[in-house]
């Protein structure tokens, strides 16, 4: 209990408190000046407004992309369902700053390949699209966030029992009326909840907002907060803006919680029975084309573009005439940042995932299996970071640790604290879910047989929970490997991470090299996921076998 509480205190509660303190004080005096400035100056209000516009559009368009795909996969005879599903998963895993860089290469106002093709080859300058705009930012963001709606809507559609709809049909309602009067209200909470998660995620993404927003003068909360750390850093104002940011996020998440809690009919029942799929006839090819278009935009275009740019001497309409590996040579052997960044990111992601899952197990176990006082509070506190955008976590940690004599600022340690703090809710949730599956009598049997608490936890609880805990580990590892929003404020040249290396190189304008580094990043992420799942699947298989015996 003491360990769990201490960890949550240091990782989450104290930094957050010092954020609040920092926003309310100036040179030791209590003041509201920072909030007055944040909410009074056009500069900052514009950023707030832009963040909201970005979030709302992203949420709406996430439904527009995610819902038809979920419906197609769950309810119709659309071909290649596996492909549609994989599209959503890959789109989710792809770091949005890589998509942003790819789209800059395609739709940059001057040098963007497609823009040049439209303007120079087709001679239709009116049809060019400037990615450095709110529209461009929304486009890039939604390609990363639509999977939230897709996944939630798909599982909701799957868990609506067919008899709900069949009852309506028997009573005389045709397919269309059944869909509108019965199915839609039943899955609406899940869809809206997915859209709200998309909203929260969208406004927190620093990378895409910096890469696309800054050149287009579309400033948002994360980029404004980031800018406050330039010149003489303005900690107070940054803290105040961070808190306003948190308020928006928390409001959205609270709304989502309430929705789900009060109006969710489908998450409880599990998988419903279903026999007949909607036969679309020739229309299924139209639906398939829609899904394929999403694949092209969200997966094919970014990867092919980055790959092509990384192989070209200079990016342009005739890039394929002189291909080269020079960019890779530069990135891998001459640019000494790369290896350090790869090593740092792998180290940080593994350490953060392990710490988050261990702490999560402890907190989850305390909540589920003990009657210690304050366990609910601990569980709640560990979920706070869900409402904290990455950059806010960074600001809070800076505020907190700069007050202490420990010199961890600029080291890997502070980044590890940031990652662990950010992702601890994932660890807690995975662990709680895993422990909930284990009947307490299995542990009690071990205790009665004479095993102590620690022995029981190690020999019974942990092995049984391992598949679930491993899933949680991966859930932390993957985003930590590509983390940018918090790292960007915390890194030093020694503790640079992969994503920061990509962003810094991008800032120098060396697009060919940055694309090579982006491809290298994706290869590393893919390899790491493959290795981790291979290892984890072995363990999970073993566990299942031993449970069966």
């Amino acid at each position: 209990m003491a360990v769990g509480a201490g960890a949550v205190l240091v990782l989450v509660v104290l930094p957050l408190l010092s954020l609040v303190w920092g926003s309310l004080t100036s040179e030791g005096r209590l003041t509201l000046d920072h909030f007055r400035e944040a909410l009074g100056r056009r500069l900052y209000l514009q950023a707030l407004w832009n963040s909201l516009v970005l979030g709302v559009w992203t949420a709406v368009l996430s439904i527009a992309l995610g819902l038809p795909m979920a419906w197609a996969v769950g309810r119709t005879d659309v071909p290649a369902k596996r492909f549609v599903h994989v599209t959503a998963v890959v789109a989710y895993i792809t770091p949005p700053y890589l998509t942003a860089i790819a789209f800059v290469n395609l739709f940059g106002p001057n040098a963007g390949l497609i823009n040049r093709f439209v303007r120079e080859t087709l001679g239709l300058p009116a049809l060019t699209f400037n990615v450095f705009s709110m529209a461009g930012l929304v486009l890039v963001t939604v390609l990363h966030t639509f999977p939230f709606v897709y996944l939630l809507a798909a599982s909701a559609l799957e868990s609506v029992d067919a008899s709900m709809e069949e009852s309506a049909q028997v009573l005389g309602a045709g397919r269309w009326r059944t869909a509108v009067l019965i199915t839609a209200p039943l899955v609406a909470p899940a869809i809206l909840s997915g859209a709200l998660i998309a909203f929260v995620n969208a406004i927190a993404l620093f990378g895409s907002q910096a890469i696309i927003g800054l050149p287009g003068r579309v400033y948002t909360l994360p980029t404004r907060i980031y800018a406050l750390f330039d010149h003489p850093p303005q900690y107070g104002l940054a803290s105040a803006m961070s808190l306003i940011f948190v308020l928006i996020t928390v409001a959205a998440l609270a709304l989502q919680r309430r929705w789900l809690a009060r109006r969710s009919y489908v998450t409880l029942g599990g998988k419903g029975s279903r026999q007949e799929l909607v036969s679309l006839g020739p229309a299924r090819w139209g639906v398939f084309a829609f899904c394929a278009a999403v694949f092209v935009l969200a997966v094919l275009a970014p990867y092919v573009t980055l790959f092509a740019v990384s192989l070209s001497k200079s990016w342009g309409l005739q890039f394929w005439q002189n291909l080269t590996f020079a960019n890779y040579r530069f990135i891998l052997f001459e640019y000494d940042v790369t290896r350090r960044a790869i090593w740092n990111s792998l180290l940080l992601a593994s350490a953060a995932a392990t710490t988050a899952v261990l702490l999560g197990s402890l907190i989850g176990w305390i909540d589920l299996r003990t009657t210690l006082r304050g366990r609910k509070l601990l569980d709640y506190a560990s979920l706070i970071p869900l409402g904290l955008p990455g950059i806010v976590v960074a600001v809070a940690l800076i505020q907190f640790w700069l007050r202490l004599p420990l010199p961890i600022y600029g080291t890997l340690v502070i980044i590890l604290l940031a990652y662990t703090g950010r992702y601890i809710p994932l660890g807690v949730r995975a662990a709680s879910a895993a422990f909930r599956q284990i009947d307490p009598s299995l542990e009690e049997t071990a205790r009665v047989t004479g095993a102590g608490w620690l022995r029981t936890f190690g020999a019974i609880t942990l092995p049984l929970a391992r598949p679930g805990l491993f899933a949680g580990w991966l859930l932390v590892f993957v985003p930590a490997l590509q983390e940018l929003s918090a790292s960007i404020l915390l890194f030093s040249s020694e503790s640079i991470t992969l994503a920061v290396a990509v962003y810094n190189l991008y800032e120098t304008g060396y697009l060919e090299a940055v694309s090579a580094l982006a491809i290298v990043t994706m290869v590393i992420i893919t390899l790491a996921i493959l290795v981790a799942t291979r290892l984890g699947r072995g363990a999970a298989g073993l566990d299942r076998a031993s449970v069966a015996h």
């Binding site: 008899s163 069949e166 028997v170 009573l171 005389g172 309602a173 045709g174 039943l186 026999q275």
Partner: protein, 359 residues
């Protein structure tokens, strides 16, 4: 006329034949139960009648109207039937009132009219006063009544019920049985009822159709199906039954003799196809076996046996005896019978209540 006729209906799912060449006539106002173990095809049949799928062969008619053929099926929404599902399928986002009124809205019944009809039907299923509740505020039994009311309010001529009582606790199930039976009598709706519970089937039905592996095994009134099962599957499914091995000693119709438990013979009615010396099985229910003390019987009266196990069940005594050749026979004796394991007894089979099966 809401009679239903199923003619040689076959339904396949991939390599599995769920329903095989199934023929059954259900009369108007009849209460027919499709009875069988899970996976026997009874629910598939019900869904074929409802129109959720079309048969691969055969025809389904209601009255004179052809509803389903392999070429196509009238969709469920245009069949005007009612259906009650095992999980009730009460819509959780609608109140009790809105659930029940749904079918009337679809039929464009005027608001006032609908209100009157919903009120009436809710009263008849004892749900008056709960109109504004949501399903999660109702007990399982109440949800079941909502599902019933929702189906009945549109006054269907046929009601399909898919194991509607199986999620209720034993006491409530008992009461709902009675209510369902009463309801069917009052409304005159044709009921097609699916269950795997033979006692439920017997309590409710005018006729039972026993189904096994997609094929109709026997259909008839509950008493017939219970007392004169057509084959071992039906006998086994309709309750406890002893299958005692024997050999035909004399084959001559109603006065044939069958040897059981060594050399004792039993006078029974044999099916005409049996020959002397053939191995047969005698099916007899435990309540139709009598135990008598060995002293008051003469030689030949009953088969000698030894008591193996005695279990007192309150209203009766459940007893296992072993014949001399080792065959175990289960007997339901009086609650007051004084029986001890090891005791010698004689077993008397009532030949009127025996059914003979042979391979």
């Amino acid at each position: 006329m809401a009679s239903i006729s199923l003619e040689s209906v076959t339904k396949r799912y991939g390599a599995v034949t769920a329903v095989k060449d199934f023929t059954l006539e259900i009369a108007d106002r009849e209460f027919v139960t499709l009875l069988g173990p899970s996976g026997c095809g009874k629910t598939t049949l019900l869904r074929l009648i409802a129109g959720f799928s079309a048969p691969d062969a055969g025809t389904i008619r209601v009255g004179a109207r052809v509803l389903s053929t392999p070429a196509g099926a009238v969709p469920p929404e245009r069949r005007g039937m009612g259906m009650v599902f095992q999980n009730y399928a009460v819509w959780p986002h609608k109140t009790v009132y809105a659930n029940v009124a749904f079918g009337l809205e679809i039929r464009r019944i005027s608001r006032a009219d609908a209100r009157a009809r919903v009120t009436r039907i809710l009263e008849s299923v004892n749900l008056a006063g709960l109109e504004d509740r949501y399903p999660n505020q109702l007990s399982g039994g109440q949800q079941q009544r909502v599902a019933l009311a929702r189906s009945l309010v549109v006054e269907p001529s046929i009601l399909l019920l898919d194991e509607p009582l199986s999620n209720l606790d034993a006491k409530l199930r008992e009461r709902m049985r009675w209510e369902l039976k009463e309801l069917q009598r009052r409304t005159g709706i044709t009921f097609v009822y699916v269950t795997h519970d033979q006692s439920e089937a017997m309590a409710l039905s005018d006729r039972i159709a026993v189904i096994h592996q997609g094929a109709l095994q026997q259909h008839g009134r509950p008493r017939e199906v219970y007392a004169q099962p057509a084959n071992r599957t039906v006998a086994d499914f309709m309750g406890l039954v002893n299958l005692v091995p024997g050999r035909v000693a004399r084959a001559s119709g109603d006065t044939s003799l069958v040897a059981v438990g060594g050399h004792r013979t039993l006078r029974v009615a044999l099916p005409p196809s049996c020959r002397e010396g053939q191995a047969v099985q005698i099916a007899i229910r435990p309540e139709n076996v009598q135990l008598v003390a060995p002293v008051d019987g003469t030689e030949g009266d009953g088969v000698p046996a030894k008591v193996v196990e005695v279990t007192f069940l309150g209203n009766l005594t459940d007893c296992h005896v072993a014949l001399d050749d080792g065959t175990r026979v289960r007997v339901q004796a009086d609650a007051g019978a004084s029986l001890e394991p090891g005791q010698r007894v004689r077993v008397r089979f009532d030949s009127q209540l025996c059914t003979i099966f042979h391979d």
